[in-house]
Amino acid sequence: MKKVLEKIKMPLLAVTISLIFGAIVILLLKKNPLEAYSAFLQGAGLLPKANYGGNQNQLSDFFVFLDGTAPMIFASLAIVISLKGGLFNIGVAGQMLLSGFFATILVGYSPLPGLVAKPIVILIGLVVGGILGGIVGYLKAKFNINEVVSTIMFNYIIQYTTSYFIQTSFVDPVSRQSKYILSSASLTFKGVSAFGVKLDISISFFLAILVAIYLNYFLNKKKDGFEIKMVGLNRKGSEYAGVNVEKTIIKTMVISGALAGLAGVSYYLGYMQSIQPGVLGSLGFNAIATALLGGVNSIGVIFASLLLTILDRGSVFMSSRLGIVKEISGVITSIILIFSAISGYIGLKLSERKKEER
């Protein structure tokens, strides 16, 4: 228990400071921060609203909220494992887009029944993301090409290429996005009638929780996970211990890419049902905040994802209720990220002081 408390000290501090910041801004806008924050929770289905539209209630809001959290969990897991391996995968957004794209065009419009289509969608997510990650890892291991640089390049190549193909072959003239996928391929059961309302039941969310738990197990109990952590901490020491460093780097990126791929299919073929061409999406980048806030820990990012998705999803409702522009959620998220980034420094300073006192 003590260990858990120790670990959540810094993230808790970061969140608290950021919420205070946000509260100040809200006050400056002459609104009540408590009202605003509870509106966030209402929007995410964690608190009841005053009234609901037809077919909706707190439960349905909550289910949509879970649906929206799933991609974030996957994306931040992708970043977690790359960081554990000493790498920085900021190409999650591009990896998501590419896997979402392939899943959409290969299965999204096909007549395959749901029972077959959905597993294939998941498979495509894993494979496409994994291959892309593997390429990045290979470039790093063999050619020493910095993964931050190569993933930025790939992000844009993917963004433009998929945009072209969507706009020329798969576009829906009304929405100007890719055509909506068939529900058989969707990883979310949209509009299921239950308990008197329509629920969006998300397979991805449960999958995400399972994957997070497995990743935690992988990193702590599996030999390959152990080696990934070793290389991330100390390359020379890993060589001494006999680890094949190059192979491990590639392995790390394959896993990271595969997780990003899952984020992609759960986002574009689950939470959303189409792809907006030419846009990378901010989720892949916000996942960095989630990963850091979650203490770069597989279980921690579940909670961090929930929190940041509350901010994201809740902002729409909060905005309509209080008239504050919904983008304030993005501001608060960024501030959380700032403090998470500094927390490393603060943590260092605190431990230095402890050493002196000893």
């Binding site: 030999k223 901490l233 020379k236 020491g237 890993s238 001494y240 006999g242």
Partner: protein
């Protein structure tokens, strides 16, 4: 000649070691003064204090009769002290003249801009080079220079800032023989133009060639200050290593078995093309402690990395119990029967952010027997770590789950020792096994090493403590400049000292 530097009762300690113990000495203006001593004697620390990088705990330093109250490299530069460090501080993609003038550039002011006066800068640097006979191509990029040329740039940096006192810290460690000649000639030139030189070195022939007087440091204390002219290299070597060494550890009678390790014609070039090892040949038998003696930087690190497999860019043959392991990986060598306790315990031998149990497992974690059902048997290593913590008296805060980073250097070393010794393999390499350990731990470690010898293991011991080598080894090989100069089981301390310093070949 008056004294340009006076050091009075200077003491400086770091956690666990007294680096300089009540040292008093004077350096005369215009002389070449050598500072002689083994590794860890305290020479570099003393000079670093003089150059303002550290502050002494007690004692006083006077430069030209003025007491130093503030210690910083900037202040030292203003006082006219310059230092050529072992690790150069040069901007690689700048030219020679840019490096020299950086921080004190020659400029032409035009409006708000301070324009670099390239022409004038080059002229001044060239003039400086001519004045002191230190020629290097002014426009060459540092990255294109040889090490000797880079060193010249470092010297020029000092002269550009009008340094009167020039400190050279082991300057010839990185040079080839001809370059050493050039440097020594330069040093004499500098003296002739009125500079005072302090030469920190362990190479006696160089002291003999250029120095006027020399001081000997041993284990932080000043042993003596003598004139070079009246002292032979033999005497110098004796002063450096001392004659009164107490050997505590009792060694049993030798009982050697068959040959375990054989090294044939081992040669190695580093990535700048410099030969670091030249045709090394030796063999080690069961129950034998084979030690390589020498001053740090003469090839020991390279031998350890080559034999252990961390660096496989060598030519030559290595065989273990008859098996040719020359192309084996680190892990394969370990499986074939080799344990290795490296010099850099924090970066090579341990993953400091892991806990004790995880570090204990580094050699075995991947084996099938510890990965049944695909899951790592962490419990096994926790138990093993528990046992070893008791057996080797490893001080830690939280048992096997203590993060190694939080442990003291000595206890970190015990983790490595425990792991490697417990493997019970036929061949072990120990590099600096007692560095940073307290007296009790040093004694214990030496007992372990002798115990392994008793069990019939072949042991390669690389140490910079001559006393340790004399206490433990059966056979001693002395290394100097990448070559093994002598292998024998009956060398006297004096002889070893002479080989170590290149006085005898």
């Amino acid at each position: 000649m008056e004294n340009i530097i006076e050091i009075k009762n200077l003491t400086k300690s770091f956690p666990g070691v007294v680096a300089n113990d009540d040292i008093s000495l004077e350096v005369k203006k215009g002389e070449i003064f050598a500072l002689l001593g083994e590794n860890g004697a305290g020479k570099s620390v003393l000079m670093s204090i003089l150059f303002g990088m550290y502050e002494p705990d007690s004692g006083e330093i006077y430069i030209r009769g003025e007491k130093i109250n503030e210690f910083s490299p900037q202040k030292s530069t203003i006082r006219g002290i310059g230092m050529v460090h072992q690790h150069f501080k040069l901007v690689e993609n700048y030219t020679v003249w840019e490096n020299i003038t950086l921080g004190q550039e020659i400029v032409k002011k035009l409006g708000p801009f301070n324009f670099l006066d390239n022409k004038k800068s080059i002229e001044e640097v060239k003039a400086l080079m001519e004045k002191f006979g230190l020629e290097v191509n002014v426009n060459a990029l540092i990255s294109d220079l040889t090490v000797a040329q880079m060193q010249r740039v470092e010297i020029l940096k000092m002269l550009y800032r009008n340094a009167e006192i020039l400190i050279f810290d082991e300057p010839t460690a990185v040079l080839a023989p001809q370059e050493i000649e050039n440097l020594l000639a330069t040093i004499v030139e500098l003296k002739n133009s009125g500079k005072t030189i302090i030469l920190v070195t362990h190479k006696l022939d160089e002291i003999k060639k250029v120095a006027d007087r020399f001081a000997v440091l041993r284990r932080g204390s000043l042993i003596d200050v003598r004139d070079v002219e009246n002292t032979s290299t033999k005497e110098m070597a004796n002063l450096m290593v001392g004659r009164d060494i107490v050997i505590d550890t009792v060694k049993e009678e030798a009982n050697f078995g068959k040959t375990v390790l054989e090294v044939k014609d081992l040669s190695l070039k580093n990535n700048l093309g410099v030969e670091k090892l030249k045709n090394i040949n030796f063999s080690i038998r069961e129950g034998e402690i084979f030690a390589i003696a020498g001053v740090d930087g003469n090839g020991q690190e390279e031998i350890a990395e080559a034999i252990s497999g961390l660096n496989r860019g060598y030519t030559g043959e290595i065989s273990l119990n008859g098996v040719d392991i020359s192309r084996f990986t680190v892990r394969e060598r370990n499986l074939e029967g080799m344990s290795f306790i490296p010099e850099d315990r924090q970066n090579t031998g341990l993953i400091v952010d892991f806990n004790i149990a995880e570090n204990i497992s580094l050699r075995d974690y991947y084996k099938d027997e510890y990965n049944k059902n695909g899951k790592m048997d962490k419990g096994h290593f926790i138990d093993r770590a528990d046992d070893l913590i008791d057996k080797y008296d490893i001080r830690q805060g939280r048992g096997p789950q203590t993060i190694v980073r939080t442990m003291s250097g000595g206890n970190q070393q015990k983790v490595i020792l425990a792991r490697e010794i417990e493997e019970n393999l036929p061949f072990i390499i120990f590099v600096q096994p007692t560095r940073g350990l307290d007296i009790g731990a040093i004694e214990k470690t030496r007992e372990y090493i002798l115990e392994e010898r008793r069990k019939g293991r072949a042991i390669l011991l690389i140490s910079y403590e001559l006393e340790e080598i004399l206490a433990l080894s059966d056979t001693i090989a002395v290394i100097y400049g990448g070559e093994i100069l002598k292998i024998s089981d009956s060398l006297t301390q004096t002889e070893i000292g002479e080989y170590m310093t290149g006085a005898k070949r």
